[in-house]
Amino acid sequence: MTFWLTLAGMVAVTFGSRYAGLARRTDLADFWIRFLHFVPITVFAALVTPSLQGDLGESEIRFLAAVVAALAAWRTRQLWVAIVVGMAVFWLLRIPF
């Protein structure tokens, strides 16, 4: 029973919040339109930095790998290139430690 309650709660929260956002017919003030423009930028940045730390005490090389990946993404605009370059840098930097 707890399982189904939890499941229903999860659906309400995850689906509900998305649907509410999509369904809103927006006629917003200029300030909030500019606010929304920055939502993906700030949320993506906020998803990146906390997970760069890692659990194995390798935050420095993980951070470096992300910087190189950002440069690769900037130059190539290719998601997979950024990931491959970032992981390659990370694993290479890992060797001496």
């Binding site: 999860m10 929260v13 995850t14 689906f15 919040s17 998305r18 649907y19 509410a20 956002g21 999509l22 369904a23 809103r24 927006t26 200029d30 300030f31 909030w32 339109i33 500019r34 606010f35 929304l36 423009h37 920055f38 939502v39 993906p40 930028i41 700030t42 949320v43 993506f44 940045a45 906020a46 998803l47 990146v48 930095t49 906390p50 997970s51 760069l52 730390q53 890692g54 659990d55 194995l56 390798e58 993980r62 790998a65 992300a66 990946a69 950002a70 690769a72 993404a73 900037w74 605009r77 290719q78 998601l79 950024a82 990931i83 970032g86 992981m87 990370f90 694993w91 890992r94």
Partner: protein, 166 residues
């Protein structure tokens, strides 16, 4: 933790996408159902703005997500310890790659760097998705404040600029 993070970002991403994708009443619940941070990331940087295109992104990710999860389940036992390999780094790297094309002006760069620093700092003392929620709100408020007086819709301007580059 995943739930709190999703709540934090999905309300915003729904709102943000709802503005640029004009969906019918019937299309909205379907689009909302398959919406994730990742689909949002791809959709937000894309030029095409139709329901079919959005569903193309959402369903390809849905399919790959489940196929990859299943193969991970099958292969998991064969790989020594995925955590030790550090493959979890792929998550922030993917979001770095999604973030970079969104940054076109100096203000956007400043806001992104500030948001990254804030989330990192907040994470030390706050649980789960809270740092992301707080950073998203505070950072976007700052961005909206810094871009005041710049004529026109920055979203539309940025999209037009992207189209010229592409």
């Amino acid at each position: 933790m995943r739930t709190a993070r999703q709540m934090a970002s999905s309300g915003g991403s729904g709102l943000s996408l709802g503005r640029v994708f004009h969906l019918t009443r019937r299309e909205r619940p379907v689009a909302a159902f398959f919406l994730t941070d990742e689909t949002f990331g791809v959709a937000a940087t894309a030029k095409e703005r139709s329901f079919a295109f959005l569903m193309g992104i959402e369903l390809s990710l849905f399919m790959m997500w489940n196929l990859a999860t299943f193969s991970g389940f099958l292969l998991g036992a064969a790989i020594p310890d995925p955590a030790k390999l550090g493959v979890d780094l792929i998550f922030p790297l993917a979001f770095v790659a999604l973030l970079v094309p969104l940054i076109r002006t100096r203000i956007e760069l400043m806001v992104a760097v500030g948001a990254g620093a804030l989330a990192f700092g907040l994470q030390q003392s706050l649980p789960g998705g809270l740092p992301i929620l707080i950073t998203g709100i505070a950072g976007s408020l700052l961005g909206a404040f810094l871009t005041r007086g710049i004529p026109g819709d920055p979203t539309i301007d940025a999209e037009a600029a992207a189209r010229e580059v592409a």
